[in-house]
Amino acid sequence: MALIELNGIEKVYRTKEIETTALENINLTVDKGEFVSVMGPSGCGKSTLLNIIGLLDKPTQGTVRLLDTNCNTLGDTALSHFRNANIGFVFQSFHLIPSLNVAANIELPLTYRSGISAAERRRRVDEVLERLDMTHRKKHLPSQLSGGQCQRVAIARAIVGQPSIVLADEPTGNLDSTMGAEVMDLLHDLNRQDGITIVMVTHNEAQAQQTDRIVRFFDGRIIS
């Protein structure tokens, strides 16, 4: 079953002087439970694609369907709720909130969900911490963690709301190879055990080879 369906996506950035076509006629379908990696040279539109799938950005043309919902028709509030319920993000530079400790960072998506008690939120955070083996860092601030640990916390935050889709933009880009491998193991784990559909941008050919499918980009188009 198709979880992500992009049809005829085009993204044009218009500034005063120039028009940049970041994406051109993208058709892409990702099935439930698939782990897809996206590769291509810098500036070819990989992040733009992820932002459009993640409903953070709107395409200039084309339709985005996620979980059989036409997301083009959703307003800003509905999009926020949709992201909260269905999508988890992992970024290259972690993007943890510096003022919040590990537990509060992980809890973030749950605080934007209605009908979930504080006790239940805490229980879920503890469960994810346990799973990622970060319980002993619960009260630490992000500035007190290593890069690898930060990314684990970021992954915990991405999955605490039990989304069906995780979008990862170069999740190992800021990590050394050991820590990068650990993060990859974690993502594979989530994909296999929880059936989470993952779309990951990477520059690492070896990592890409481990995933179910590689989508290659060049200059805003899919070339294979």
Partner: protein, 417 residues
């Protein structure tokens, strides 16, 4: 809530200057407003001996036009009685001097003191809530007999007689011999209609020379639930019958909405020949409040703006994980309200301390020796007003930055370092 406080502590640690300037700026703004508010409250809210200011009315002046002896000024005793005695709906009435006499007094200590003297009738002691420390008040007979006796304040008693027994002692008041029959607790000068240091029963003769004029105020406590207009309408009727008497002399009265309520008296009646307008004082106050709120709000707004600039990335992340625009606004407003409330609390405490030590400078007597007491300053109204001021300050300073933050493009926000 806990996370918001952690965020505030984090902000204070990472951007101490902006954080503290925000808090101190808020405190200063609330301080200035609350000083104005409290000094205003002291003039209208009830405290002993003026325990029922909300039910008090005062007849102070008379205005007469025509030929001969005309003008506008205070009333003589018999005129005040003619206009204000036995009105329906009045619980208690007293005739007493409108302006205090500053007079030299000398007791057994031999030292001369200037004391503020108020002439009153016996009703004065029923109307106001004085605290009798020793002796007794004078009665109707003694008022009628115009006796040289006095009730004096505790401070005056100490000045005139030292630590000795006071009741039955004699002292000189403007070279006349007076006997002390009672001692009352000192009264704040903010109780402008009851204040005095020496009270004598010499109200009838002192202020009755056969003309209309004198220095007698009719102070009235109105029964609960009785409309002030009902009282004024009766007084208007009395003016009309006075006009009947004055017509023969080609004179007539001009009515200026007498008697006046506490707010009118407090805002300064303005003159004996005009109809006082307390709403203009109110307008001035509101303009002062508005200026005291808006000017710092503009500064606080730019302060918040720069605090938020550091958090653009965070706002983008929150949006990615499902925070709606409305929620962003709500979070920023409530977070900034906590800071405003902290600053506001500091400002309020500072204002109370200031009023406690320097509030006397704002009294009619302009001296810091008569500062208002804590119980005069700390009222439910005080807190409600401070809270309201914080609320408004927060809304006008945080609304625009919060709205801007909510309109940030999530992708650009996330990519902002």
């Amino acid at each position: 809530m806990k996370n918001k406080i952690l965020q505030i502590i984090y902000d204070l640690r990472t951007q101490p200057v902006i954080g503290w300037v925000t808090i101190i700026g808020t405190a200063l703004s609330i301080f200035l407003i609350m000083v104005v508010v409290m000094m205003q409250q002291v003039t209208v809210l009830s405290f002993a001996p003026e325990t029922h200011r909300d039910r008090m009315l005062y007849g102070i002046y008379i205005h007469v036009e025509g030929e001969g002896n005309t003008g506008s000024a205070g009333m003589c005793y018999s005129l005040a009685k003619k206009l204000y005695d036995n009105l329906d709906g009045v619980e208690e009435i007293s005739y007493n001097s409108s302006w205090l006499d500053a007079v030299d007094a000398k007791g057994t200590t031999g030292k001369s003191y200037t004391v503020q003297v108020r002439n009153t009738d016996e009703g004065f002691w029923r109307l106001f809530d004085f605290k009798l420390l020793d002796g007794r008040y004078y009665d109707a007979e003694e008022v009628a007999a115009d006796r040289n006796i006095a009730v004096i304040s505790e401070k005056t008693a100490r000045n005139l007689f030292g630590d000795n027994e006071v009741i039955g002692q004699h002292f000189l008041l403007d070279h006349n011999d007076y006997e002390v029959i009672g001692v009352v607790a000192d009264v704040s000068m903010f109780a402008t209609m009851a204040f005095g240091e020496v009270f004598t029963p010499k109200i009838i003769k002192t202020w009755d020379d056969g003309s209309l004029w004198g220095n007698v105020t009719a102070s009235m406590l109105i029964k609960p639930g009785v409309d002030f207009e009902y009282i004024r309408n009766q007084v208007k009727g009395r003016y009309a019958s006075l006009d009947g008497e004055l017509a023969a002399e080609n004179r007539k009265t001009v009515y200026h909405e007498s008697p006046f309520d506490q707010e009118t008296v407090a805002s300064g009646v303005g003159g004996s020949n005009i109809t006082p307008d307390p709403s203009s004082g109110r307008r001035t106050r509101y303009i002062i409040y508005a200026i005291l709120l808006i000017v710092p709000a503009i500064n606080l707004s730019s302060m918040l703006h720069s605090r938020l600039r550091r958090r653009v990335n965070e706002i983008g992340i929150r949006r990615a994980f499902g925070c709606t625009r409305k929620r962003i606004i709500k979070e920023i407003l409530s977070e900034s309200f906590i800071i405003t409330a902290i600053g506001g609390f500091i400002g309020l405490v500072a204002a109370i301390l200031f009023a406690l030590f320097y509030g006397g400078l704002y009294s009619d007597f302009g001296t810091s020796s008569v500062n208002p007491s804590l119980s005069m300053l700390i009222r439910t109204q005080t807190f409600l007003f401070a809270l309201g001021a914080c609320f408004i300050l927060n809304i006008i300073s945080a609304a625009v930055p919060a709205w801007h933050a909510s309109r940030l493009n999530p992708v650009e926000a996330i990519n902002t370092k």
